[in-house]
Amino acid sequence: MSQKEINVNIYRYDAAQDAEPRYDSYQVPWEPGMSAMDVLDYVYQNLDSTVAYYDHAGCALGICARCAGKINGKSGLLCQTLVDGDVVLEPAVKSRVIKDLVCARGGK
């Protein structure tokens, strides 16, 4: 039985060195119950380790709320938003991007 794959488009932008953002595309094996963060973990571990998302202190269980992002254009927590088909992953606030999906916190 062949594994279902989804197409994942990820917003890429390094505020320190890129002139413009771009979208990179990846094919990710899918299983039921995968969240957007599970998808990112797969990309990071197997396809492209340059992808950045808030991870160094994330709970991945819907508690810390630091993985806010846009999943297919809709705001939500990456770790709790389930993905069941092709998906576009973007930062929560593009004007505050440090790198890819990681935004600086506003109003410190």
């Binding site: 390094d14 505020a15 320190a16 060195q17 299983e31 039921p32 119950g33 995968m34 969240s35 963060m37 599970d38 990071y44 571990q45 197997n46 492209d48 380790s49 340059t50 992808v51 950045a52 998302y53 991870d55 160094h56 202190a57 994330g58 709970c59 991945a60 269980l61 819907g62 508690i63 810390c64 709320a65 630091r66 927590l77 770790c79 709790q80 389930l82 440090i98 790198k99 990681v102 600086a104 916190r105």
Partner: protein
């Protein structure tokens, strides 16, 4: 400029309950206090994930105006915790836990924590609520904080701590801290295992750097695996929601062949080992036995279901903990639907708490002058098996360590700033960034994590531990020096942070595996299949790990102040039953 210099008197490493309570204690001594949080303030580490329960003796609980067990006392509470710990508890630290727990609760209430309910020996609130109260008090006193800062290494001179090197994760800039005293409150090292129940920042950075600086670590072989943790679907892997199901309603545990495998154990042991928080020790062990016997589920666990209990009854018992079937932000409806349909869910043990850690004296100082420690990162009061609350531990430790560190800093000279030491560490830290080609850290790490779960899980053997140590040695010598990040830009470089953490995970796993190999007996959460007995003639000892070129393990006697066990050797399950039967009946779930 690639680095920034920051001065303070007391540097607190870790922003959980222990760290913040320590910062409050230090600041109350009138010294400059700076707390470093690896992630967002009050929303990283283990504390904000806690349900939470806070344990203290029932009599003191009543005196604070809550429902508690009137027949309980500090003495009974103390004795029970010693039984839970299989008599391996540091009784000096345990006395501190038992006698000061009520004071720490009283101040939390004053600072704004609102308990939800209480039972015999515990009061229930949220970890987030505790964090917010602690942060509020710390800010009021003028504690400074920094977020998204990872500490990399302690700086010592002539064995005295003088500062530390840190990394601002967002910008990639190094931070050179100069301090008179350092308090490590960095929690556990859950990230060394996969699966795990921890936040992604918990890599034991503080424990590992303390070891490297010359501190002793103790009882590193004692690791609590929570039982009945969700093994899937992917977005809930590692969640303890199902553990809580099983606390509210024992339900039915079955292996891959549909057998109710707990039936092979004594019914009274099963009863206590299911309904009380002895379950983390007992059920994780029983589960692992099934998996090793080839009766594990596809994901390497067992199944939790409602058995013959009607769904409505199961739901009524369980839903009290899950309003609208949500656990924090996790939607459990699909999982609950599965249970309703009579389809049990896949669960199993996952690392949850570290009973051993940095060795501290009665003043919460390590063997290094100026280096203090508090909370889960220490070798605390629970001995071989923690049943009572770590939220209590974090506060009783934090208060004492903070006060001591503050007093120490009052009398300490200005630390000398050894820029050449900092420079050398910074150069070493940037190696993966500078290396043009090399190994991918995530793939190396996942292999390590999965091996740790298999070889350093609830059941250990000499052969498997030796195999694991050989594997760790191979990774440390042939893979770690060749890590290279694909991205070379320093701002929020996830790969770089992961590379820096991996060295810590490997050292802690090596320390733990060597300690587990040395302890040729079974006690609490350390079970040796090849030595399945508890040995009170030879093993009323703590293992002590030091790093001096290589990691070596010695022992020292357990600190017994009032309660000594019977001598002799007993098969593990007989000893477990004896400990359970010796426990009072006034403790409720604890």
């Amino acid at each position: 400029m690639n680095h920034k210099e920051i001065d303070t008197d007391v540097l607190v490493v870790g922003g959980g309950g222990a760290g913040f309570r320590a910062a409050i204690g230090a600041r109350e001594k009138g010294v400059e206090t700076l707390l470093l949080s690896k992630g967002p303030l009050g929303r990283c580490g283990a504390t904000p994930m806690a349900g939470a329960d806070y344990t203290l003796d029932g009599n003191s609980l009543r005196k604070l105006g809550f429902y508690g067990e009137p027949k309980d006392s500090m003495q009974t509470f103390f004795e029970d915790i010693v039984k839970q710990g299989f008599y391996l508890n540091n009784q000096e630290l345990l006395e501190q836990y038992v006698t000061t727990a009520p004071d720490r609760l009283r101040e939390l209430l004053e600072w704004g924590v609102a308990p939800v309910r209480s039972e015999e020996r515990a009061i229930f609130t949220t970890g987030i609520g505790m964090m917010d109260a602690l942060i509020g008090q710390a800010k009021k006193l003028g504690v400074r904080t920094l977020e998204d800062v990872m500490l990399l290494e302690l700086i010592t001179q002539d064995g005295q701590v003088v500062g530390a090197l840190g990394l601002d994760i967002a910008s990639g800039q190094f931070l050179r801290f100069h301090a008179k005293a350092v308090i490590i409150a960095s929690g556990g090292w859950h990230k060394a295992f996969w699966p795990n129940t921890g936040m992604r920042d918990l890599a034991g950075d503080g424990t590992a750097m303390a070891l490297r600086a010359g501190a002793e670590l103790g009882n590193m072989e004692f690791i609590t695996f929570c039982c009945n943790v969700l093994y899937g679907p992917p977005h809930v892997l590692g969640s303890i929601a199902s553990y809580i199901f099983s606390l509210r309603c024992a339900g039915e545990l079955t292996n891959q062949e549909g057998e109710r495998f707990l039936n092979q154990y004594d019914p009274s042991m099963v009863h206590i080992g299911t309904h009380m928080e002895w379950n983390k020790c007992f059920i994780s062990l029983a589960t692992t036995k099934e998996v090793r016997a080839g009766k594990g589920s596809p994901k390497g666990g067992i199944y939790y279901g409602r058995g013959d209990l009607p769904y409505e009854q199961w739901a009524r018992q369980v839903q009290v903990s899950f309003p609208n079937w949500k656990y924090k932000h996790i939607d459990l409806k699909d999982i609950v639907a599965s249970i309703e349909a009579g389809k049990p869910i896949e669960v199993g043990p996952a690392v949850e708490y570290f009973d051993g850690g940095i060795i501290i004296d009665g003043k919460f100082q390590s063997n290094l002058p100026g280096l203090f420690a508090a909370g889960e990162c220490t070798l605390g009061p629970f001995g071989a098996n923690r049943v009572c609350a770590a939220t209590t531990e974090m506060l009783v430790h934090g208060a004492a360590a903070g006060e001591r560190a503050g007093e120490y800093a009052q009398g300490a000279p200005e630390p000398v700033k050894y820029s050449e030491k900092f420079q050398a560490l910074e150069d070493a830290a940037t190696a993966p960034l500078r290396r043009q080609e090399g190994l991918n850290v995530a793939q190396v790490r996942r292999r390590v994590q999965e091996m740790a779960h298999k070889r350093l899980g609830p059941i250990r053997t000499e052969a498997e531990l030796k195999e694991f140590l050989a594997f760790l040695d191979e990774v440390q010598t042939r893979q770690l020096p060749h890590l290279a990040t694909a991205s070379k830009s320093r701002n929020y470089n996830k790969e770089w942070v992961d590379s820096l953490e991996l060295a810590n995970l490997l050292q802690l796993l090596e320390t733990s595996a060597k300690s587990a190999l040395l302890r040729t007996e079974s006690r609490g959460v350390h079970y040796r299949e090849d030595h399945p007995y508890t040995d009170n003639d030879n093993w009323l000892k703590e293992t002590v790990a030091t790093l001096d070129g290589e990691i070596t393990i010695g022992t020292r006697p357990v600190r017994i102040t009032s309660l000594a066990p019977n001598p002799g050797r007993k098969p593990y399950f007989e000893m477990l039953q004896e400990m359970m039967e010796g426990h009072s009946e006034v403790g409720g779930h604890h």
